[in-house]
């Protein structure tokens, strides 16, 4: 039977994959997608803890629901920002959006 440890390892691996993508990719939208992957990993850990704890409260699931809500709001604002950047610089490549680089 998959126990808490299996779900936590899965959550950690998913978070590490999202972290690698967010640190490495050049496309703004792909970076946003990797942030969503990281948030999914965290949600799996939260729900797994809620399932395997002895307390009766569903705190982990409530927390995960708020994470999903904030992720939706953040994706909307992030995509609005990406559209504004694309309209102004005609690219979504982070290597070419470097006005603030020294």
């Amino acid at each position: 039977m998959p126990g808490l440890f299996h779900y936590l390892v899965l959550s950690g691996v998913l978070f590490a994959v999202g972290l690698f993508g967010a640190l490495t990719k050049r496309n703004l939208i792909v970076i946003l997608m990797c942030v969503e992957i990281m948030l999914n990993g965290v949600n799996i850990a939260l729900v797994a803890f809620s399932n395997f704890s002895r307390a009766a409260a569903l705190t982990g699931q409530v927390f995960a629901m708020f994470v999903i809500t904030v992720a939706a709001a953040e994706a909307a604002v992030g995509l609005a920002l990406i559209l504004a950047v694309y309209r102004s610089r005609d690219t979504v490549d982070v290597g070419r959006i470097d006005l603030m680089k020294w």
């Binding site: 050049r26 002895r54 629901m65 309209r87």
Partner: protein, 159 residues
Amino acid sequence: MVAVVAFWALAVVTVGSALLVVLLRNVFHAALFLVLSFAAVAGLYVMLNADFLAAVQILLYVGAIAVLLIFGIMLTQDVTRSNTSHSLWPIGLGVAGLFLVVLLTALSRIDWPDTPRPAQPTAAPLADALFSHYLLPFELASVLLLAAIVGAIVIAKER
């Protein structure tokens, strides 16, 4: 037995799709594999007795966030080959690998409890918790969503 097979199938699909999101050259294909990863996570929620959260995951992540991302991909061009990595990608791989190693080492040294909660519907207990104990975060989340809507419109509209 079914639970073991289901867990490993869903876990492989989730992590594999996430890896393909990072590695595929075509951004649109990456977005489609992101949708697959979200759906597999919803399956994992069902296995963790979080039935309402699985429905919320499909509705919000697959139905709203992934669609929004695909809209963003369609509106910013150069779809077929624009998912590239910058030249310092080995450092990113090292950081993520180091994080994973440290996390797995820490996780493996703890004796985790192993008794899952008995399966029961979670919509009613979640509603009870959300409207009594977590009422303030619930109201703040609605204000946050209002701010996000107004902000997104203001940022993205034409001059």
